[in-house]
């Protein structure tokens, strides 16, 4: 089981859950299982091309997956995957 932490923005799409336990051995599999359990998250994390939206950051434990193997980043039992919005302005 891998814990996925959701930001407040996405919780309404996941029955209000702050975190969801999912299965998967890569970020792609984790996100696929997350979306299977909460179909309302479809399109919120990945764009239609299947890559991470630029306004979403995904971490495996402390590491931004963009600096690892992106969606192919390996995930192990007990890891925490955190999804956070990119916060920016001018």
């Amino acid at each position: 089981m891998v814990e996925v932490r959701l930001p407040t923005l996405l919780r309404p799409h996941a029955d209000g859950a702050a975190s969801v336990g999912v299965e998967g051995s890569s970020v792609a599999e984790v996100l696929a299982d997350l979306t299977r359990r909460h179909p309302g998250l479809e399109g919120q994390i990945l764009d239609p091309a299947g890559t991470l939206h630029k306004f979403v950051n995904v971490y495996v434990n402390d590491d931004d997956v963009r600096y690892l193997d992106a969606l192919d980043t390996k995930v192990s039992e007990g890891d925490v995957v955190s999804i956070l919005p990119a916060v920016a302005g001018g």
Binding site: P7, T8, G16, Y59, L84, A88, G90
Partner: protein, 138 residues
Amino acid sequence: MLRLTRDQYLRIVAHCYDGLPDEACGLLAGPVAGGAPTGEVAEVFPARNSDASARTYTVDGRDYLRADREAQALGAEIVGVWHSHTHTHAYPSPTDVRQAVDPTWFYVIVSLAQGDPVLRTYRIEGEAITEVATVVDG
């Protein structure tokens, strides 16, 4: 209404001055009830501006991750963001509106454009900007 303690207010403003000449930014943590922040602030988390720019800011992702964890440990959530405007007034810029992520969040802007800092709070939903009263206790 957004309610800051005097200490939180001073830490926000000090971080904005420390960031000069660039914009500075940070996150607000507080309780959420019924899906919306209550306006109480449990903690403020200064963050790095990964744009290192006087015109734009991006909250450093790892600083956000750390703040999110510390907020969780306090039983709180990230409920808003603050940033400084170094040369313009304390009102959301078109970039702020375009990039606003969460309509329930508090968007705090600290203007350093004139003598004294001016701190104001907004909600941003789509194109709509609504000012929220800011109270500093103590």
